[in-house]
Every structure is written in structure tokens, then in C-alpha cells.
Symmetry: D2
Subunit: 133 residues, 4 copies
Amino acid sequence: MGYAFTLGFKVRDYECDLQGIVNNSVYQNYLEHTRHEFLLSRGISFAEMTRRGIHLVVVRVEIDYKMSLVSGDEFWIGLNVARKSKVRGVFSQNIYRHRDQRLALTANVEWTALNAKGRPFQAPELESIFDDE
Amino acid sequence: MGYAFTLGFKVRDYECDLQGIVNNSVYQNYLEHTRHEFLLSRGISFAEMTRRGIHLVVVRVEIDYKMSLVSGDEFWIGLNVARKSKVRGVFSQNIYRHRDQRLALTANVEWTALNAKGRPFQAPELESIFDDE
Amino acid sequence: MGYAFTLGFKVRDYECDLQGIVNNSVYQNYLEHTRHEFLLSRGISFAEMTRRGIHLVVVRVEIDYKMSLVSGDEFWIGLNVARKSKVRGVFSQNIYRHRDQRLALTANVEWTALNAKGRPFQAPELESIFDDE
Amino acid sequence: MGYAFTLGFKVRDYECDLQGIVNNSVYQNYLEHTRHEFLLSRGISFAEMTRRGIHLVVVRVEIDYKMSLVSGDEFWIGLNVARKSKVRGVFSQNIYRHRDQRLALTANVEWTALNAKGRPFQAPELESIFDDE
């Protein structure tokens, strides 16, 4: 499967909970960081958009947890993006454990851009991320 | 709507990100804490089960983010639980902002219990949580 | 020992790490939340000050970890505040486990207010917090 | 200044709080990860020691926050280790912003090893980390 963007990570011990595995919520951190790095790779800074009053927000996530990552695991995240409607996009993101390329997690993350009034709108600077479709 | 369990919270500033709103991943912390407090209210300690080698794990989440919570917001989470199969259960959890009872988030969290070998199984001590169904 | 402000907490499982104890960094979350609630009790909103361009920042912390908190522990934090210089204050904060009032942690947190240019200054709205001295 | 170990990082947006800067507590995550990677580089796995009942714990931290890191900042942490007593060691750790090598934070982290009974002891496998002194 081809990805528009990939990013490598290593589990840090503080991300593991008392079960000794990466806590469920932490995967959303990994996924978010990958999306923001993808945007940066297209010249779009999430922090800079926020300062200008444009808020990219997640409206829905679906995450399938297939295998737990543990202390020291190296992994990578593959990302693709698709348009869902005029004002909505969907990132599909998969996490693979490095040493055996086994799929650890799949996610669909639906998002929109809010203008200064909090209304969803078609932010012009985001149009370019759909070019690969 | 009736809930088997509810729990009150207040947003803490460190849970907000550079958009000034609660970060997406943090809601999973709130949801997890509510599930664990629900289990405790039924006499089941997540930490104690973990020590005995029984791992409750989330296998899938679906979360709809409907409204952002911000610094200082008080809110509560309502929880219901249903059996999905012999070895799977589903928690449905909704978050409401306290001051206007507006729905902020809905979630379905599918989980299973893993035995010491990592295999899904029907943990006897969890059967009682389905009694309300 | 008397405190200008106290706040109660309960450990949440996601705050525990693979040692099964609250992770060192999480205590700073507890301490910060207590400081911000203290400020609120004096009519000062950290988030609102931030929006107005006044940044309260920590410049130094000293923390002694005396006893680990674990899953389910209830505890409370006592806070006092003292002036260190014209533009610096110090919060002294202690954490006590509820069930035996045993001291779990002591902290000294030195802070200053930065104006819009990032320079330390004497923020007028903060003067009132030193009234108890 | 020479360091026994260094590690590079990049700020992730979810680590920033509503002030738009890395939250104070997050630096402790960075510092911990660096210590654990240093230990790994000496053949010592923190997670593995924990499983064997040896708990490395922090007993005191002193942190001076000299400059805030923000979204996108790359930085590195330099670490040295010294013996403080038979059962105590001290990591001194400094954080530098990559683009100008400016010092962002200095920390002294005092730690000990606890045996299965929770008593501080001289863990044989840790002796080698003091070899550089």
C-alpha cells in the first residue's frame, strides 16, 4: 500500500501505562503529530494557522487497536488523505511495528477547518493536500 | 437518557493545547477514567486485574467530537455497557458540558479481556457488569 | 501547617506508568492545576491572562519525591505563596496521601509574569495573592 | 561541555499548552526518555529492570526553565551522570535549542534503585554507568 506520507517513531517509556503497554490515548498523539508533520511537508504549519484564527479540528475518529506497542518498540505511521465533502477531509492512518512490519493500528480521522467565527469553511491553503488523489 | 454510571470532571489547563481547547487525545483519558471508576463501583479494580495477569484492552473506538471543551469547563460523562459477543463488550459514553447540558462528545468503546497468554476470554468477574442490560 | 489553598485529587490509572506508580512528570500537572485553581479562587484566570498577553511562567522547580502514589490513591495538595522579588513569586506546595496524611511530595515553584514583549514585570492583578503574607 | 550521552528531539504540537509553549511537565518526559535511552546505550533496559522488581525512582529534581520551546523547535539533551552516595546517583541534563544552540533548560535529577521490598540498594547492573567519572 502506498502512502502520501510516512513518519518513524519509537515508544517512550512514559507513554506506557500500568499494563506495560502504550496507553490508548497516546496513539492519538502519534497520529496527530504525523498529520501535523504531513501538513508541514506541504508548507502548512498547524501552529501558524491557529495563530491566524483558522482552527483545524477533528470531528470524528475511528480507531482499531490490533496489537499493543510496548517499551522500546520502533514503529512508523503511513498517512493518506481524501476529501469527504467541501469542508471535510479524512486522513487514513496506519501504524506498523518496525521489526516485523505487523499492523498495530488503523485509524480514520475526519476533520474540518473552522474560521474565526467557528464555522466550517474551505480553507484555501488546505486545497493542495488533496492533489494526490 | 439513563446511564448506568456518571462521573463529573473539570477541565484542567494542562489538558488544553495550543488551540486553547482540550486536546483530542485527552478525551480518551476522561473516558478511560470513567470506565475504571465504573468498574470500581462494581467492585472491579483495573489495576488489581492487571496485577493478576488479566488485561482489559480496548479493541476499537469511535468518537464523535461535537463541541470543544475549554479551560475551566465542568462536564460529566454518562456510561452504559452492553455485551457484543461472548468475549467483547461495548461501552457507550457521552460527555455533556455542565452549564448547558450540551452534548460535547459521543463514544463507543469496544473492549475485551485478555488472559495471561494474550488470548481473549470471558473473565468471570466481569459478567456482573452486564446485569443491567 | 496552614495553607492558603488546598485541593483534593484522585489518581487516575492513565497517570500511572509501567512501574505502576504515578509518573514523575504527572505531579507537575497536579501542582499546576492546584496553582491555577488557587488563582481562580482569587479571581484570576490563567487562561484569560494568557489571552490578554500576560504569560505566567515557571522559572524554577525543586521537587522532592518522598512516596509514590498509586492507582486509586486519593490525595490533597496544600499551597502557600510568597514574594521572592519584585517580579518573582514562589509557590510552596505539598502533596499528602489522604488515607494516612503521609507526605508524598514537596515542591517549590518559582514563577514570574511576562508581558507581551516577553519581559518579566509586576502584573498588577497578581499583587492581591500576596496579601496573606 | 562534554556529555556522556546526547539525544535529539522535535517538539510535537500536542506537547504545547494554551500558552502556545511546551508545558512545564513535558520537559520531565523529555528528560526521562533521555535517561532511559542512555541506560539502553549501556545495555540496561528500564522496562526489563522493572519487570525484575528493581525500580529506578527519582527522589529529587531541580529544573531551571531558561527559555520556552515552541511548536516545531528541534532541540537536543545532553546528559552526564555522577554518583552521589552508595545508593544515589545524579543525572545532570541540559536542553539546547538546535537552531542557535541556546540553553533552554538545566536539570539535576537525583535517583536511587529500590529492591523488591522498596528499599534503596546498590543495583550491581547500574555500577557501569559511573565508569566515565
